[in-house]
Symmetry: C2
Subunit: 392 residues, 2 copies
């Protein structure tokens, strides 16, 4: 294998996540991209290629061909622009594809974006479209939408390890608390364990406040080859690792229901690539589409032993000032989850955190962060590791 070049983020831009009745799909994408370009101090014309993550624009807004659309809206034709899709991991996969395009030597500066506009259809239609992230033939066809699939995972975890509904509620409470300090978050409002426990069941044992919401939003980052990044940017954030693994689309194909094997494979590869261990990580943005998903993630990555994710959360070990800050942005629960955008938003959060620009949600003395983006009920996992560059 030839040597890959080093790659860094030099800018990030985000729209507010939430219900955008006055902004279209393309306007959201354009806003995030322009903010990222402005943040990076480059001229848009320096961008050589674009990589866009988007899950289901065909069903949400009747539009495919998203790569060309975004290049067109930004006036960047004829540069190549590629849409990638891996359900809710589409954004992370776009980041990885853009990263590889520079690491390979094909490009020097690229833009990576993630966009989803989910509120133009009814919630029922959105749930059905999202069901396309699972197995349409063996799951969705029989009525198993995503809350039901993650509810099954929660049930098994509760039975095997004694994880409680209160421990799962603690994930949502922490993420809402962090989101208060995030200007782009959909829910900038604290909630209590009691409020989560009293919110109605969506699919037992998961209640409304265990679930990330339906959201509109977009995120973008600008990547550059490391030598160029140092010239263009005072404090670039290096992408020090990038991995991608798959698993069976349907839960029925899994060997275990208490872990996501794609997360285990992707994180083992990430630690191998970087030479790091879970103890070296100061903070992580993990995929909390449902509260149980965050518990699975922090166990599968190796931050806590299997079965200890719930208690660790309840004890505050994953809080901003805990042993390891998990989802300082507010996560999918607090920020909202425009599915194609989430993976890029996670990277943008690492960019701001590592540069000390995260305001009230700043993780103190954070040097190394990682992102964990899951598609479906775990059939895709894309992970990245980041470090602030010493640019002197």
């Amino acid at each position: 294998m030839s040597k890959l070049r080093r790659v860094a983020m030099i800018g990030a831009g985000l729209t507010k996540f939430g219900e955008h009745w006055n902004l279209s799909f393309r306007e959201l994408g354009t806003e995030a991209a322009i903010k990222a370009v402005e943040n990076s101090n480059i001229d848009g014309k320096e961008i050589e290629a674009m990589y866009i993550g988007c899950m289901a624009s065909g069903r949400f807004v009747g539009q495919e061909h998203i790569g060309a659309l975004v290049a067109d809206q930004l006036g960047l034709n004829p540069i190549p622009s590629t849409r990638v899709e891996a359900a809710c991991a589409s954004g992370g996969l776009a980041l990885r594809t853009g990263y590889l395009s520079i690491a390979s030597g094909e490009h020097d500066i690229v833009a990576v974006g993630g966009i989803e506009k989910m509120t133009e259809v009814t919630t029922a239609e959105a749930g059905f479209a999202l069901g396309g992230a699972g197995d349409q033939e063996t799951e969705l066809f029989h009525g198993a939408t995503f809350p039901a699939l993650y509810a099954l995972l929660a049930k098994v975890h509760m039975k095997q390890f004694g994880t409680t509904e209160e421990q799962m509620a603690a994930v949502s409470v922490k993420n809402h608390k962090n989101a208060v300090h995030n200007p782009i978050a959909q829910f900038r409002k604290e909630i209590s364990i009691e409020q989560v426990m009293k919110s109605g069941y969506v699919a037992t044992p998961l209640k409304l406040l265990d679930c990330s919401p339906i959201s509109d939003g977009a995120a973008a980052v600008i990547l550059a080859e490391i030598g160029l990044a140092k010239k263009l940017c005072e404090n670039p954030v290096e992408i020090i690792g990038s991995t991608h693994a798959t698993d069976s689309l349907a839960l029925t194909g899994r060997k275990s229901l208490t872990e996501l094997n794609a997360t285990k494979v992707a994180s083992a590869q990430l630690f191998h690539q970087t030479g790091l261990t879970p103890k070296d990580i100061d903070m992580a943005e993990v995929h909390d589409c449902f509260s149980i998903a965050e518990i699975l993630a922090i166990e599968d990555i190796g931050f806590f032993k299997k079965g200890q994710g719930g208690p660790a959360t309840e004890q505050g070990k994953t809080a901003l000032d805990g042993e390891i800050a998990i989802n300082p942005s507010g996560g999918l629960k607090g920020c909202g989850h425009p599915v194609g955008a989430t993976g890029v938003k996670q990277a943008a959060e690492m960019f701001q955190q590592l540069r000390g620009e995260a305001g009230g949600r700043q993780v103190k003395e954070a040097e190394i962060g990682l992102t964990h983006n899951v598609g479906g009920s775990g059939a895709t996992c894309v992970m990245h590791a980041f470090r602030l560059m010493e640019n002197r």
Copy 2:
């Protein structure tokens, strides 16, 4: 820019293109992939990553997350598997993404696939889904589906260059003639100019037999780093060039309606990359979604002067035994056009042709071929050039 590694195709597999009432989306993908693996003489376990082109599976079969789905169906988890989408150029873009993953040094052997199953919805629904390849807000919303958009391009070409309906009909007649010899083609049946002229108007001046059909189908190729390719395969086909360009999504954004600028940019880059000129090319698979599209392509690539594509076709210059064989496979018109699969099918045709395995449609003494895959009304163009390797 660092040096890219050389990459070759070592196997290809195709399903029949047509209406597959008894095969599902996933079965089509699996069939093509298994045929490609068998054709390449590798073990499936040697595949390190997959790249799948698919345009609109969400709207056609209710399924997203196609990368993970295909890896799962083939029993190849946990390898990374990526879906890319660029409307009808999704297959070509998957090929390019897979090519770059080896050229970069990230992988040594990858599988590239394209799949679409379009007949599970009504023709009206399919037309509406395909409209998502154009501009949903400024074109499709107002009723401009794809036959209408290409009809506008045809009208301008007729007015400016005197191109006739008979000349456009000659494209379809030639492509049907080639398809007779292609076992995977949807229409293995010759048609006459008179039959095209008498087929009903879909959008004046385009008639039914100027239009490629709605189709189901899948195609796959196996790529390997060149050193490995020589070890694994007696006669690999090298990918000697790969380019990708974009243009405005809507026709209203174009400077000219008598050419597709994305084709001009992508082909200029391809000739620059390879050091070739149009005269060096022995055959090409070009994107004939409508008959006028083939005329635009052979002019924009530079095989014929602007305005001469129609007369050249009428005079037989693009026939199997003409100056340059255009669409020896039968093209989109003869083979059918399962939109995500087409770009990969084009590459598979070059693989078979350059190895002398194309039977009754064999282009004699063909040494260099190219493929031209268009998304939408020209907002994406992906091109590749191929040469048989002297493996002695």
